[in-house]
């Protein structure tokens, strides 16, 4: 799985910490999500997409 979280985060001038606060998760989780090393639940994926003002399809690329 690949993600475009880093790209969208940069567009919104958000740090990993800011995004973690917005979504309500640990900073570590954002790090793992950005590296594509964590498969999030549908709810978390939706919350991250909402925080970055985009859609799940835009954010997560499944191989």
């Amino acid at each position: 799985m690949k993600t475009r979280i880093k790209e969208f985060r940069a567009r919104h001038n958000l740090t990993q910490e800011d995004l973690a606060k917005k979504v309500g998760v640990r900073r570590e989780t954002i790090v793992f999500l950005e590296k594509g090393k964590y498969n999030p639940s549908l709810q978390l994926a939706h919350e991250v997409a909402k925080a970055l003002k985009t859609t799940i399809e835009e954010l997560f690329i499944f191989n």
Binding site: E17, A20, K21, G24, V25, R26, R27, E28, T29, F32, K37, Y38, N39, P40, S41, L44
Partner: protein
Amino acid sequence: MKKKKTENKKQYWKLAIVGSLFLCLLIIIGFIFLRDQNITLIAIAIIVLALAGVFVAKRLKSIKDVKKGLTLEDERSRKVLLLTGAKAFQISIWYILILMWLSSVLEIVALEVEMALGLSIVGMAVIFGITWLWANKQEDLDKTVRF
């Protein structure tokens, strides 16, 4: 937001209580080990202390994050803990079985009841710590644990 803060506070207290109990346990074990002057046991105590150090350092970092307004527990940390528990339980069973086997069948290690209990408890704690470090690096946290 208020609910999240209360949950974090609860986590904070749980961490403080468990940490204090663990520290007391380590001090008692260390004291007994030093009193008995057994090099193997002192080595075990040092390994346990080193692992406890890593755990405490990680937890202190988490507390700093909490002070910044971040949460201490989320879906990933819960999955890590679940995988850790399952895997540590599985490994602990094998560890205790091997310990029993070495002690009774092969008679390589002659263990008294107190020593066997102590080694089992400390061993299980060490296994849990190592398994947590392993689980925290895993990509697939939904994997099943097979015996």
